[in-house]
Each structure stands twice: as C-alpha cells, then as structure tokens.
C-alpha cells in the first residue's frame, strides 16, 4: 500500500487524532451505562483509530506493546467478562447480578461504580483485539499473500 509521507498527516494522525480518539473511546465506554455508548462502541472507536493508523502507513505503531499480541489481549478481555459473569455466584447472587458501589471521591463528590462496568470493559477489550487481529491477519499478512498472488498471476 502506498504511503503518504506527509508531516501534516503525521501531526494529524499521531499527535492529535489518535490520542483524542483514544480518549473518546475510553470516555464512550465508561459513560455507556448512563448515556449512549458502551464497550462495544468504545472498542469500535479505538479499533478505527488503529485502522486509520494502518491506512496511513503507520503500521509499526501496531507493533508496540501491549497490542503486539492481540490474541493474549483477546483472552484477557474474554476472561474479564467471564469473571464478571460468574463473580456474583461466589457471594450467592445470580450470574451477572450488578453490584453498585458508591464512592465518595474528594472534590468530585459521590461516584457510583457498577460492577457491570467491568463486563463492559471486557467487551471493550475483546472488540479492540478482534479489530487488531483482523488488521494483522488481513492487513500485514494478507498484503504478503496479495503480493504473491499478483506475482504468480
């Protein structure tokens, strides 16, 4: 894939878009419980950041930790969701039953933390790692296969 070596694009994608979009993704994930958003949407937003980086030729960005091994990340996300699912069984509740903690944070005031937030976080991680895996498989590796096909043809 042809890359566009452009300082403006560098600035735009790496400095601003990627960072802001990452923040947005996390924000969307956590506000999901009370307003539009959630783990799925948040994961997709972060996923599209990676896609954008890939499309602008910033593939090496994908090679930095901890996203170098998306399979492990995928497992971790599934595990987090699963643990949140079965955790209430330990204290005698129904699977996935929500527990609400009310914290008193200085300066901010009362903050409600709902246990299903961790489930949503699991969903978020799974979605991100699925996008990364597909990108790695069809993008990096697929490019090699495609080149090969073209040469053979």
């Amino acid at each position: 894939m042809k890359t566009v070596p452009s300082a403006i694009l560098d600035e735009l994608v790496d400095r601003w878009l990627a960072k802001v979009a990452t923040l947005v993704a996390v924000y969307v994930t956590f506000r999901g419980h009370n307003a539009p958003g959630g783990g799925f949407a948040g994961g997709l937003i972060l996923g599209s950041v990676f896609v954008l980086q890939y499309l602008t030729g910033r593939e090496p960005m994908l090679r930095s930790r901890p996203i170098r091994h998306p399979e492990a990340l995928l497992g971790a996300g599934l595990l987090l969701a699963l643990v949140t699912t079965v955790a209430p069984l330990v204290v005698g509740g129904a699977p996935l039953e929500s527990h609400i903690w009310s914290l008193d944070v200085p300066l901010i005031g009362e903050v409600k933390v709902v246990s299903s937030m961790f489930f949503d976080l699991g969903v978020f991680v799974v979605v991100v790692s699925v996008v990364l895996m597909v990108l790695q498989a069809l993008g990096t590796r697929g490019a090699a296969v495609a080149r090969d096909r073209r040469e053979n043809a």
Binding site: H33, L44, G77, V114, V123, V130, V134, A137, L138
Partner: protein, 776 residues
C-alpha cells in the same frame, strides 16, 4: 459424611498417583492400600450391626432434584467390603505383578479411581447417583483395558468395551430420566414405596435392563468381556470378574424388587441370563488360553447371577447375594492364580500350564481348590451357594418362567462343571515334558524373582482358596451374616446356608450335574484350533463400520464445502421461516414507518438504490462500498427514530467492515466470478430479494403484534434501581441480557481466531509452495 469421605479419598489418592507419585509407584500403591483398608474399616465400624443404615446426601443440583445420596445398608456393606477387600488383595498382588513395568504408576492411579467409582456405585441410594458412578467405572475400565496402549488389540478391545457399556449407560440414563420425570424420584426406597406401573414404568424397566445387561456382559452384549482380557491380570481379576461386571447385578438387585412383577421383566432376565450361561459355558470349553477360559466362565456365572438377582423372588435374591460373594472369591483367586502361572512360565496355554505344579505347588493347589469351588464340589463355598440357588429356583412359585430358569441353570451348571474339570486337568497334568525342560532353562535364566515378589503374588491366591474352604465348613455362619444384606434388598429374603442339606431334590440334581459335567469336561480336548474373533465381536465391528460409513456419506452429502452453497442455504432458511410464520398467522403489518416524513422516505429510497447497486455492479470493490452506503443509510434511520446507541454502533461497524472488506479484497479477483449454471445470478438475486423483503416484514409484524406485554417498560423501570444505569440499551447488554453479550463476544473472538488461522494456513501453504518450487 464418612461415606462421602471414603469415596472422595479414593479419587484423591488416584489423582495424586497419576500426577505426583509417577516416579514412585510402589509408594503410591501403599497409599492406595491404606485407603482401601481404611474404607473397609469404616464400613465394618459403621455398617455392621447398625440399627438403621448410615445415609448421606450431598446436594448437587437441588433445583432439579439431583443429589448424590449414599446409604450403607446391608447389601452395600457386603458390596463395599468386596470392593475394598478384593481391591486390597489385587493391589498387593499387582506390586509383584508389575515388578519392573513402566505402566505401574498409571495402573495404580486408575485402579484407585476405579475403586472409588465402584464404592460410590455400590453405596448409591438412588439411580441418579448410581448412574454417575456407573459411567465413571466405564471410563476407568476403558483406560485400564487399554493400559498397554501400544497394543492395537488392547486399544480395540477397550473401545468395544467402552462403546458397549457406554451405550448401556445411555439406556440407564434414559430409564433414570423417565422415572424422575414420571414419578419425581429415582431413590430406590421411594420407588419401592411407589411401586410404579404402566407403560412408562415398563419402558424405564426395559432401559434399566439394557443398562444392566451391557455392564454385566449378558447376551447379546456378552462379547466385550472376553475381549477385555487384553488388560493385565490384576485388571481382569478385579474389574472384569470381581467388581465392575457386578455393577449390572447391583442394579438388578436394587431394582428387581421394584419391577419384577411387571410383565416383561422376568422373561427378559431369565432368557438373557440362561442364554448367557450356556454360551459362556460352551465357549469356556473351547478356549486354549486359560485366562480366556476364565473370562468365558465369568460370563457364564454372570448369567446365573442375573437369573438369581433378576427373577425377583426373595429366596433367589438371598441365593444371589451368597453366590455373588462365593463367585467373587473363587474367581478372583483363579484369575490371580493364572496370572502367577503366566508370570512364572510365560504362557497361559492350557496344554502347557501343567508345568507349573512343580515350581509353584502352593499356588497350583490353591487354584485347584478355587476350581473345585467353581464347579460346586462339596465341601467348598461354591457348593453351598450353588445348592442354595437350585433350592431357591425349585421353591419359587414362578410358573413357566421359573421352570425355564431352573432347567437353564441346571444345563449351565453341567457346562460349568465341565469347564472346571477341563481347567483342573490342565493345571494338574497334561504338560508336555519337552516344555518342562525348556521352561526350567527359561526360569534359571530370567527368573530371579525375589522372595517378596513371589509371596506378594501367591498370598492372595492362597487366601481366596482358604476362604473358599473355611466358609464351606462355616457356611451357616456366613449364612447368618448374609441375612441383613439380603433383607435390605427385600424384607422377605430371609434364609440360611448349610453345608450338608440332607438328601433332597437339589442334591440329587447336583449329583447328576457333577457326574455329567465331569464326564464332558474330562473328555473335552485341551488343544483346540484357535478360534477367530467371536461372533459378537464381529457383529459389533460390522455395526461400528456401518455407522462410520453412513456418517461419512451424510457428511459428504451435506457438507459440500462450497461457500456460496452454505450462505445460500442459510439465507433461504432466514427468508423462509418468517414468511411461513406470517402466512400461517396472517398477521401482516399494518403500519410502515417509511412514509412518516419526507426525509425518511428519501433515505429509504437512497438505501434501496444503494442496495440495488450492490447487487448489480460487477466490481467487488464497488460492491463493498455500496454495501457500506446501505449501512450508513440504515444508521441514519436509526438515529432519526431516536436509537442513538444503535446508530452509533452501526456507523462504526459499517466503517470498519468496509475497511476490512477492502483489505480482504486485495487478494481476490477484481470482478465477481461469472455465474455458473447451478448458481446463476438470477437465483442469487432472488434469494437476496427474498431475505430483504422477509426480514423487515417480520420485524414490522412483530412490532405491531402487541399480544404479549412489552418487556421494554419493565426494563425501563428496573434499569436504574437494579443495574444502576440510565442508558437502558447498555443495561440490557451488560446486565439484563448479559448472557447474550457474553455469547456474542465469544463468537467474535472465535471468528477472529478463525480469520487469523486461515490467513496463517494460507501463508504456510505459500511458503511450502515456494520451497517446493525452489527445490525443483
């Protein structure tokens, strides 16, 4: 709690041996011996002389009424003692038997796991508990038959045994399920009170019988037991003679007081038992391998026990318990004894094992005593119990079934005297002198068996012989001990054992049986041409192969491997199911939301145009872009109707899928492949149109139906209080319907792994091709 502890201890020690003590199997075996001895001690302390049986229930799935319940009643005491005492003897023997064998550690671990399963099985107070341990014994048996995993014959026998007993286990499960659903209990005590009758009870009874017959190797499932002799001697002696094959009898003993008065039960039991007795006895007369002779004789004896336990008369039940004990003792002794001979001479050929009498006289005498007990010769235990069996069948008022049972048992006994006589002749004489000298050389060179090993090997054999003699003379003592076990099965099963019954019909029959049997046995040839696999085995293999062939044909017919085909079938079903439902119900939607506003209409038209574009363009890239456009249009529609969450997610998903499409399309031809004759373009378009019409129609119809109360109001009401969230869509995803989400992300993960691995496979193929090409 002691009962549960006893069962669990077996499994824990078994697991410990399989994992931790691999290097020191002898230490492991000693731990196993301690567990077995402790179990026996607990059973003796808690079970004998107790006013009411010790019972324990451990809840498993209380909602469905599935619990582990154990009860140490009289019968359970006898069976548990058999399991642990014989287990102790066999395990001690195996320390000598497996002297330098690398499979010993695995053997000991599996052995303990099996002993635990069997203990659980005999302690079970309901059918469900029994089923669980029943299956565990099948699995242990499979692993133990195949202990020598390098032998193809052993593996095949293991599979045969597993599939046969496994099929029986499924029948048993069916019976358990029927009883649970129909009568609400599987507990033996409660079923006895209910005394179920009717078609369902009869069906359940037949299923239980099938389970018992497969496990206890009754006709027509008798073939797996001789095959199981591929296992090492301790396994054969313990599992396939003394304990596991008795599981079917335990089931019969527990259920025959409940079901015996039903029409089918008695005939099935008697016919299967008698046929098994005769086939087993006849086959035992024709075996060259002494161990196989014993295997067939076990089949035959199991037939006799099946008749006694299943016929459902109290006296026969008592005789059954007595003969079960006698059989377990003499048959374990015989198996172990033949194992000693094998260990000493390296052969089990009946025309050669006579050489053993010079070298291990004590063991050979013990074998002879056990053989006489098997033949039912006075004054041994076998005589006492077989006599009791004849008396029980003579005295039971069962009509024609009873007559068939009696004469079947008489014929079977003739055969059993005959094969016992043949075995006796084999061990006491008939060895060729040439082999003897060869054997002596062999022994000098290879057998420096230590004193300890030979003691470990012969002690259990001698012990069983001594027990057979002592309890022959002390029959009345054993008889009183067995009253509690028998009455715990059926309150009327009170009787006694005597050594000398006086001249009566049963004794006359016995004399006749012994005379005829001895003549037949003495004249039966020792050397027989080696038999091919038994008819049962061949039938089993035939069925097995046929199932495989049918499975392959069905797979070939339904799994063509064509992607368009799979997608086509799925889409046709997706279209057909809702349309059929709509046509049957006639509940077509009356509202459409398309004409709500001009803007909606415009976007719908846009979506339709983009969809047509997707179908009509020839380039793959263009089609992917059109498809993304359709998705965006739909997202806008979502947003216009206030479904912000949905719109947001749809927008993101569409964006990503277009990119992924483009990435994937790099490796594909630029244009769609031309339509073929079986997959024409028109057909594809028709399917697409059908799905496109059917799904929205259905969605509208469902929305407008309004028959059932909507769940959305309830969700809205509960959202903040119970799940602490104001965004009800998200609360549904992570809380109310969280299981669905869990399933969905799992599917996502599996799909991603699939993509990654497919690409990896393609890479590997490419690499192979290039290296291959370079080589040329």
């Amino acid at each position: 709690m002691a009962l549960v502890l006893a069962v669990v201890a077996h499994f824990v020690s078994g697991a410990l041996l399989l994992v931790g003590l691999r290097r020191r199997p002898v230490v492991g075996a000693i731990v196993g011996l301690v567990v077995l001895a402790a179990t026996a001690a607990v059973v003796v302390a808690e079970g004998i002389g107790a006013d009411s049986p010790l019972s324990t229930t451990v809840e498993w799935i209380p909602l469905l009424g599935f619990n582990f319940s154990f009860s140490l009643d009289g019968f359970a005491v006898v069976m548990t003692l058999l399991v642990s005492v014989l287990g102790f003897a066999v395990l001690a023997y195996s320390i000598g038997y497996f002297e330098h064998d690398s499979t010993f550690a695995r053997f000991v671990g599996l052995f303990m796991a099996f002993a635990g399963s069997m203990t659980g099985l005999v302690l079970a107070a309901d059918l469900f508990t029994m089923f669980v341990f029943w299956e565990l014994t099948s699995i242990c048996s499979f692993l133990l038959i195949g202990l020598n995993d390098k032998s193809a014959a052993a593996r095949q026998s293991a599979v045969r045994a597993l599939l046969t007993t496994g099929a029986g286990g499924l029948c048993l499960l069916g019976g358990v399920g029927l009883l649970q659903v129909e009568f609400g209990t599987t507990s033996f005590a409660q079923l006895a009170v209910l005394s179920p009758s009717g078609t369902i009870a009869e069906a359940a009874a037949v299923l239980l019988l099938l389970g018992a017959f497969t496990k206890s190797a009754q006709f027509p499932f008798h073939f797996w037991l001789p095959g199981a002799m591929a296992a090492p001697t301790p396994v054969s002696a313990y599992l396939h003679s003394a304990t596991m094959v008795k599981a079917g009898l335990v089931l019969l003993a527990r259920t025959s007081p409940i079901f015996a008065d039903q029409g089918v039960w008695r005939w099935w039991v008697v016919v299967a038992g008698v046929i098994t007795m005769l086939i087993g006895g006849w086959q035992a007369l024709r075996q060259v391998d002494a161990k196989l002779l014993l295997a067939h004789s076990t089949v035959s004896q199991l037939g006799l026990l099946t008749v006694l336990f299943g016929v459902g008369s109290p006296l026969a039940l008592y005789a059954g318990v007595a003969h079960l004990v006698a059989h377990a003792v003499f048959k374990a002794g015989l198996f172990l004894g033949v194992g000693v001979i094998d260990h000493e001479l390296g052969t089990r050929d009946v025309s050669r094992i006579g050489a053993a009498r010079v070298r291990i006289p004590a063991t050979v005498v013990a074998i002879a005593v056990c053989t006489l007990s098997m033949a039912g010769i006075i004054p041994l235990l076998g005589f006492v119990t077989k006599e009791k069996a004849l008396v029980a069948l003579l005295d039971s008022p069962l009509g024609s079934v009873g007559d068939v049972a009696l004469w079947g048992v008489v014929a079977g006994s003739v055969l059993s005297v005959a094969y016992s006589a043949r075995l006796l002749r084999a061990v006491l004489g008939g060895a060729s002198s040439s082999f003897e000298s060869h054997g002596a050389v062999h022994a000098d060179e290879h057998h420096h068996a230590s004193r300890l090993v030979s003691v470990l090997l012969s002690a259990p054999v001698v012990t069983t012989a001594v027990v057979s003699v002592v309890f022959g003379f002390a029959a009345s003592l054993l008889g009183t001990w067995l009253v509690t076990p028998a009455t715990s099965l059926d309150a009327d099963a009170k009787s006694k054992l005597v050594l000398w019954p006086g001249i009566n019909t049963a004794l006359i029959i016995s004399v006749f049986v012994i005379v005829v049997g001895a003549i037949v046995g003495w004249r039966a040839p020792l050397a027989v041409s080696a038999a091919r696999g038994s008819r049962g085995e061949r039938a089993f293999d035939g069925i097995y192969d046929a199932v495989m062939v049918v499975a392959k044909r069905i797979t070939a017919a339904t799994q063509s491997g064509s992607l368009p085909m799979y997608v086509g079938v799925m889409l046709v079903l997706i279209a057909a199911a809702p349309i059929t439902a709509l046509l049957i119900d006639g509940n077509f939607p009356t509202t459409n939301y398309v004409t709500d506003s001009p803007l909606t209409l415009a976007i719908v038209v846009l979506a339709v145009v983009l969809a047509l574009g997707t179908v009509l363009v020839q380039m793959r890239f263009a089609a992917a872009l059109f498809l993304g456009g359709v998705g965006y249009a739909v997202a806008v529609l979502f947003a216009m109707r206030g479904a912000i969450d949905l719109a947001l997610t749809q927008l993101l998903v569409e964006t990503l899928s277009v990119v992924i499409f483009l990435l994937a399309l790099r490796v594909m031809p630029r244009r769609f492949s031309p339509s073929s004759r079986w997959n024409p373009r028109s057909l594809r378009m028709a399917i697409a149109a059908a799905v496109g019409i059917a799904v929205p129609l259905f969605a509208l119809a469902v929305n407008g139906a309004g028959g059932a109360p909507s769940v959305s109001q309830e969700y809205l009401a509960r959202s903040v209080d119970e799940a602490g969230g104001r965004n009800v869509v998200n609360v549904i995803l992570v809380d109310f319907r969280g299981f669905d989400t869990m399933g969905e992300i799992t599917v996502l993960a599996v799909a991603a792994l699939g993509v990654a691995n497919l690409v990896r496979a393609a890479e590997r193929e490419r690499r192979n091709k290039t290296t291959h090409g370079a080589g040329q």
